[in-house]
Symmetry: C2
Amino acid sequence: MIKVSVMYPNKPGGRFDHTYYRDKHMPLVKSLMGGACLFYTVDKGLAGGGPGEPATYVGMCHIYCDSVESFQAGFGPNAPKIMADIENYTDLKPVVQISEVVVGQR
Amino acid sequence: MIKVSVMYPNKPGGRFDHTYYRDKHMPLVKSLMGGACLFYTVDKGLAGGGPGEPATYVGMCHIYCDSVESFQAGFGPNAPKIMADIENYTDLKPVVQISEVVVGQR
């Protein structure tokens, strides 16, 4: 299994609507990707590692798929619709990473 | 529920032993933290978001706890033992972030 992490840097003055992201954008992604998205998770940044440090990312999602190929098959054709919705919740440019899920839950 | 993400930047020449991390370090963390760690997950970076882009993080773990307080109670007293094990798998300095789990799995 792989996960695609979309991580929005916590820039001063940046706009990020956590409610829209949770209630509208991510359900839209899941709905468009169908079975290619096995499931997804959403995080809201609270803090960094040290006392008083800000979170590196203000918000993140992680999209879990069987393989990179199944992600691309589910996401690719829907990318224009998904991308067009981004301005509705943020003006931040995300960092995107694909990872192998080495330990799913233990 | 909160998650503590420990993310190791994918620096050229950096050392990261994925097998040790999965088989020794993370089980040690779980064992020392006891019930304060509800569960954890481990990722191995495969790629970035664009064609040919490297992953931002070579490895990550996410430690799930009921609250920041329960994480601190479980991790704090064991920090010296956990920190002392880091040199066994990496010479990279991780980025640490605490997040609220907004959507656990959907």
